[in-house]
């Protein structure tokens, strides 16, 4: 059953969309990641314009993350103060990200920006994840225990404007969470990702936040920042397709439930290697599209209109 999407202005089979939402939801439930980094490229592969893909997935992540954030809030898994500081950064970042996006869209470079951002970030993160999980598997084979000890003082502790974060039991400079939030804001606006894959490691390794508040706080921040990106893209480029976001969400909610069950049966390292391979596959597909001589060198866009 073909469904015409009002903003994307393409007609796509609704079952294919539900399947895509379900598949990405399944993987995100299994790996515990947001899935925006998979959903945006897949939408682009099936013919949704890149700008619409990015903005719509941001809208869909708002929906996906709010239920997660609420679940963590019930368990007391959110550091609201830290989350608030990171949201401030996120709002600034999303504003500038959306501005860059709008300018590049009118000069015809936004598709390139999206692809480059994906190749860069997915390649980096996927590579790191892969190396890290191979190492930890080897370590487990040898029977080594990862070293646990007092954390060392780093350059992060030397930054000014320190603030107390009770829930995280931290006394750190606000500059760090603000900049992490801002980077994630830019990525959300440009790539249509929640940014959890950057934020979670940054919160653990750079801020030394306790694991039990990391996921909840990042979901809390993602809810607000993706909402901000949804608003900015709606105003600047009119690229948010509410109908598409809703269809994807329905699939994602169902898929995530199944994925979470399968995820419980796999070991942490195995999961991370699989996720790394997935991330690297998406990354190489996008990299390949950039370097392979295109079949058609010319492309057409209506002038004056932003579509």
């Amino acid at each position: 059953m073909q469904t015409y999407l009002p903003i994307a202005e393409v007609s796509i089979n609704i079952f294919l969309l539900l399947l895509m939402g379900g598949g990405v939801g399944f993987l995100s439930g299994m790996f515990g990641v947001g899935g925006g980094f998979l959903m945006t490229p897949i939408l682009m592969f099936v013919g949704v314009p890149p700008a619409v893909s990015v903005a719509t997935v941001a809208n869909q992540i708002t929906a996906a993350s709010v239920s997660g954030a609420l679940a963590h809030a019930r368990r007391g898994g959110i550091d609201y103060k830290m989350g608030g500081v990171m949201i401030v950064g996120g709002l600034i970042g999303s504003f500038f990200g959306s501005m860059i996006f709008t300018i590049l869209k009118s000069s015809g470079q936004v598709d390139l920006l999206i692809s480059l951002a994906y190749v860069l970030f997915l390649g980096g993160i996927g590579g790191l994840m892969f190396v890290e999980s191979v190492r930890s598997i080897l370590r487990n084979r040898r029977g080594d225990k990862p070293k646990v000890g007092r954390r060392h003082r780093t350059w992060v502790d030397a930054l000014p404007f320190k603030m107390k974060f009770k829930a995280s039991k931290l006394y750190v400079s606000v500059l760090m969470p603000v900049s992490i939030g801002a980077l994630v804001g830019v990525l959300t606006a440009v790539m249509g990702v929640g940014g959890g894959f950057i934020m979670v490691p940054a919160m653990i390794y750079l801020l030394n936040m306790p694991i039990k508040v990391v996921i909840g706080t990042s979901l809390f921040q993602i809810t607000f920042v993706t909402a901000s990106v949804t608003f900015l893209h709606s105003v600047n480029t009119q690229t948010v397709d509410v109908l598409l976001a809703l269809i994807l969400l329905i699939g994602a909610v169902i898929g995530a439930q199944l994925g979470a069950k399968v995820g419980l049966k796999l070991k942490g390292e195995q999961l991370r290697i699989l996720l790394a391979i997935l991330v690297l596959t998406v990354c190489s597909k996008m990299a390949l599209d950039l370097v392979v001589t295109p079949d058609e060198l010319y492309s057409v866009t209506p002038a004056g209109l932003i579509h």
Binding site: Q60, T62, V235, V253
Partner: protein, 265 residues
């Protein structure tokens, strides 16, 4: 009495200007004048049909219709409202392919289809085809700034390839059927990505390389129902639309979480 005078006047003038006016008449219509793009829309067909009537003087002096030996040709051109379009060309920058140069095309249709009874160049001369903009290669395409000829042709060809690939430009010669030299019908395909707005449908009647008549009918393409609502909302009130999108997402997310909690016990 008045009627008799009228008839007499008619007869006299008929004698004075004894050369009979042999004009064709053509009546055309579309299967519909409004195409609505709804959520089930996945492209559509449009039937363009019409009748040709030729008024001639018969042997016995009466006026009537003769159908033998008249080889009519029909060309149907459908096009959407014209806008400027930007054509971009990719070039290799280091290892990657990126958009480098671009040209703006002035006033080109976003949708253009032509169909005819026979190959266009057998129906009319090149000049007439150009004047009528009948045939994709006969479309007048002007650039916003002067461009060297070879460059212009490359961009023009690239533009047309793009539009053809999206099924927005198409040309089907020899698919208009004429029945008994009186009735003709043409079927045109519209893809799901057809632009909205005012279209015009031109029907040209030709015989022996001579353009006899041209008829124009309007066609309106618009989004309808939910599609129209969402599209208009997004473009007319973008800020409210953004807020609505956020509220819908928050509610749907909450509902999704609520339902899956219920279902998993």
């Amino acid at each position: 009495m008045r009627r008799i005078i009228l008839i007499i006047t008619y007869l006299i003038t008929g004698f004075l200007f004894s050369q009979p006016v042999m004009a064709e008449r053509m009546v055309t219509d579309l299967s519909r004048h409004i195409i609505e793009i709804t959520s089930e829309f996945s492209g559509t067909q449009l039937l363009i049909f019409g009748a040709i009537e030729r008024d001639v003087l018969l042997d016995d002096g009466a006026r009537g219709i003769v159908v033998e030996g008249m080889d009519y040709d029909v060309i149907v051109v459908v096009q959407s409202a014209r806008h400027d379009m930007i054509v971009r060309r990719k070039e290799q920058v280091g290892p990657i392919w990126a958009n480098r140069d671009s040209l703006t095309l002035k006033n080109v249709p976003g949708y253009y289809a032509v169909t005819s009874t026979r190959p266009l160049n057998q129906i009319l001369g090149e000049q007439d085809l150009k004047r009528l903009e009948a045939g994709i290669e006969n479309l007048t395409i002007n650039f916003a700034k002067p461009v060297p000829q070879a460059e212009g042709k490359a961009y023009r060809d690239g533009f047309i390839r793009n539009m053809k690939a999206k099924d927005l430009y198409n040309q089907q010669e020899g698919t208009v059927s004429v029945l008994d030299d009186i009735l003709f019908r043409a079927i045109l395909e519209f893809p799901a990505n057809m632009p909205v707005g005012e279209y015009k449908v031109d029907v040209h009647l030709i015989r022996n390389g001579e353009l006899l008549l041209s008829e124009q009918s309007p066609l309106e393409v618009g989004k309808a129902g939910l599609e129209r609502l969402i599209y208009n909302f997004a473009h007319i009130y973008p800020a409210s639309y953004g807020i609505m999108a956020i509220v819908v997402a928050l509610f749907a997310g909450w509902l999704g979480g609520f339902l899956s909690r219920k279902m998993s016990g």
